[in-house]
C-alpha cells in the first residue's frame, strides 16, 4: 500500500486511540483544527472531545497533565507541536517523567507518549527549526524514536504503546509528504533495532530522521560512480543500537554520521565516541560528521539550505572520503 508519512502517522494514531480505551490525545490544535500538520484531522468527530483534547498554549501544563494521567493509569498521547516548544516542557519531561520510576523504587511507571516534530527546511526561521532530539537522547529513562520512513510512521506509535516508560517520538516536518510503500501489518517490528537501508561496502553512513532520504539519495548518486555506500537508519536514538553500527564499520572501515542537529555535544558526537571506543582498530579513516552549521537557522530559503546538510553535501563529503 502506498501512503504518505502524514497518512501513516494518522493511521497509527487512529489505531492506538481505537484499541486502547484509556488512551487520549492532547495538544495544541489537535481537535477542532485537525492538528497543526493535519495528522488528527477528523479525530474530534470520530472519538469525541473526551479523547481528543485541545490544550491551551502551555507546553509545561499539558505535558505535566499527560505525565500525571499516565501515572494514574491512562495512556496519554501528548502532541507537542514542535520540539522547539518542548523546551518549555523540559522540566516535566526530564525532572518528572524520566525519573519517577527510579525515585519511586519502581512503584510508579510513566507510560506517556510525547509526539513532536523536529527539524528545519520549511522556512520557519530560528525559533521553529531546531533539532534538539540529541539533547533528549542524553537522558536516561527516556526512549527516543525517530521515524524516518512511512512504515515507522505507521507502526512506531503502535509498538511504543507497549512500553511502560516515557517514550518520545520525534517526527520530521519535511517528511510529512514522503510517499512510500507501507505494509498493512508488520509482524516482526523491532522498535530498537537500527536498519541498514542500503547495503554497501565502501563507507557507512549513519543517520536518522529527516536526513535519511537525503543519505539514500546520495548513496544512489554515488553508486553511479561505483561507490557502494551503506546507509543505516538509527530509528532509535536512545538506546542506540551499537551492534548494527559496529558491524557495518567492521565491514566498511569508514564512517560518516549525518545529523541535522548542531555538531557540538550532539548525538553524532556520542556515536562518534562509541565508534572510537569500540571500533578504533577497524577504522581506515577518521570518523566524519555532517551536521547543521552552528548558527541559528535563517529565514531565507537559500541560507537555510546552506545551514542544513543537503544531498550534494553528503555526496561530496563521501567522495572526499573515498578519494
Amino acid at each position: 500500500m502506498r501512503s504518505t508519512y502524514r497518512e501513516a502517522l494518522r493511521l497509527g494514531l487512529e489505531e492506538v486511540l481505537s484499541n486502547h480505551k484509556n488512551s487520549f490525545l492532547i495538544g495544541e490544535d489537535v481537535g477542532a483544527y485537525g492538528g497543526t500538520y493535519a495528522v488528527s484531522k477528523g479525530f474530534l468527530n470520530l472519538f469525541g472531545d473526551e479523547k481528543i483534547i485541545d490544550a491551551p498554549l502551555s507546553e509545561v501544563g499539558f505535558t505535566g497533565l499527560g505525565i500525571g494521567a499516565a501515572i494514574g493509569g491512562m495512556r496519554p498521547i501528548v502532541e507537542i507541536m514542535t520540539i522547539n516548544f518542548a523546551l518549555l516542557a523540559f522540566d516535566q519531561i526530564i525532572n518528572s517523567a524520566s525519573i519517577y520510576n527510579f525515585m519511586s523504587g519502581g512503584q510508579i511507571t510513566v507510560p506517556v507518549i510525547l509526539r513532536m516534530t523536529s527539524g528545519g527546511g520549511r522556512q520557519l526561521a530560528a525559533q521553529h527549526s531546531n533539532s534538539f532530539e540529541g539533547w533528549l537522547a542524553h537522558i536516561p529513562g527516556l526512549k527516543i524514536f525517530t521515524p524516518a520512513t512511512v512504515e515507522d510512521a505507521r507502526f512506531m506509535l503502535v509498538h511504543a504503546m507497549k512500553e511502560d516508560s516515557p517514550v518520545i517520538i520525534i517526527e520530521h516536518a519535511v517528511l510529512l509528504n514522503l510517499i512510500e510503500d507501507c505494509p498493512e501489518v508488520c509482524a516482526d517490528f523491532n522498535l530498537y533495532k537500527a536498519q541498514v537501508k542500503k547495503i554497501g561496502k565502501d563507507v557507512t553512513v549513519i543517520t536518522y530522521g529527516g536526513m535519511l532520504p537525503k543519505c539514500i539519495k546520495a548513496s544512489e548518486e554515488l553508486l553511479k560512480n561505483g561507490h557502494e555506500v551503506e546507509v543505516i537508519d538509527l530509528r532509535c536514538l536512545r538506546p542506540l543500537d551499537n551492534e548494527t553500527i559496529f558491524n557495518s564499520i567492521k565491514k566498511t572501515h569508514k564512517v560518516l554520521i549525518v545529523d541535522e542537529g548542531y555538531k557540538s555535544g550532539s548525538i553524532s558526537a556520542e556515536i562518534s565516541a562509541r565508534i572510537m571506543e569500540s571500533c578504533f582498530y577497524d577504522l581506515d579513516a577518521p570518523v566524519q560528521r555532517l551536521c547543521r552549521r552552528e548558527i541559528p537557522i535563517p529565514y531565507a530559503r537559500h541560507l537555510e539550505e546552506l545551514i542544513i546538510p543537503q544531498t550534494e553535501n553528503i555526496v561530496s563529503k563521501i567522495e572526499e572520503m573515498l578519494r
Partner: protein, 366 residues
Amino acid sequence: MNYNLPMPSLGADMDEGKIVEWKIKTGDVIKKNQIIGSVETTKSVIDIESFREGIVKEILLKVGDVVQVGKPIAVLDIIGDEVLDQVDTLKSRLVIRTKISPIAKKIAEENHIDLASVKATGVDGEITLKDIEESISIKSVERPIGRNLRQAIGQFMSRSKKEIPHYYLKKRLHLDQLVEWIDEKNKNLIPDERLLLPVVLMKAVIISLKKFPELNGFYKDNKFALSKNVNLGIAISVKPDGVMAPAILDADKLNMSELNIAVKNLAIRTREGGLVGRELSEGSITITNLGDMGCDEVFGIIFPPQVSIIGFGSMRKEPVVDRQGIVRAGFVVDMTLSADHRVSDGLLAARFLNEMQKKLNDPSTL
C-alpha cells in the same frame, strides 16, 4: 647530536629484522659494542650491538616491530659526525612520522609489511587499508621470501652461484700423525676439554690461511678486501630444515682449547638463539663439515661476500700406499675448497691445500 641507530645487517641475506627484546631504555648510557637488544631474522634470534656510544634518546620500535635493514631502530644522543647524522635524522623522520590508519596498521603488522615500502594514497597522505592490501598482494606475488629460512637460503645461494665464478679443488689429507697426536694430548685432558678432530682441522685451516690471505676476506663493490682476522664461519644445521654459518670472530687469536670451547658454544647459541649480529655478518671464510653424516666429500657454495668455503668429509680409514709402495690402512679426510676465481686461482688454492697437509703432518705447529 642525534644518531639513528640502524637495524643492522646480520648477514647479507637479511633484508629485515623483527625486534624481539630491548635491553636498553630511554636515558641509558650505552657503550660501543654493548648489546642493546635482540632481533629475529629469517634464521634465528640474534643479539644486536650498538656501534656508537651515547645516551638513548628514543626507542623507535616496539617489541614485535619489523623493519628493513638500515632503518632506524633507536635514537642516540652522541657527539660528532654532524652532517652525516642530520641526513640520517631527516631520512628516518620520513619513515617514523608515517601516517597510517588504525586498521591499515593492524593489518600491516599481521602481515609484516614494511611501512616504508608502502605507497600512501590517503586524503592526508596517510597509508590506508587499500594501500596495505596492495602491498600484501605485491609481496605475495613478488617477494615470497622473508620468514622462511629455506626460501632465504635458496635465494641467497642462487645469488652466490650466479655472481661468483666458483672453482673447486679436492685433496685427501692423511691424518695418521694427527690422530696419534690428538690421542696423546687427550690422555691428559678431562672429557670437556678433549680435542676433537674437526676443531683441530679448523685450527690447521686458520694457521694455513696466514700464508694465503687471498682466501680469507670479502669481495664487495667489485673488489677484494682481505680480512685482518680470521672470522671462521661454521656451517651449522638448524631445525627443522636449514643451515646457518655464524662465525667465530677473531678465531686466529684463540688457542686450541679456546677454539674448542668457542665451537661448542657457537653451535649451542646458533640452535638456541643467542648469536650476536657480527657473528652472522662478519665471517671471512666458512668451513662446512659433513663428516658426521658419513659423507666423503662436500663442495660448498661460497657465502657472499666471502671468497672461499672449505669442506671436510668423514674421517675414515682407507687403503693408503706409503713411500715404500706398501698398502696399509690409514686415517684420511677429504678436504675440498670452493673459491672465487675473481680473487684467486687453482695454483694458489693447491698450495693452500698442501700447506694444510704440512701442518697436519706436524701437529706441534698447531
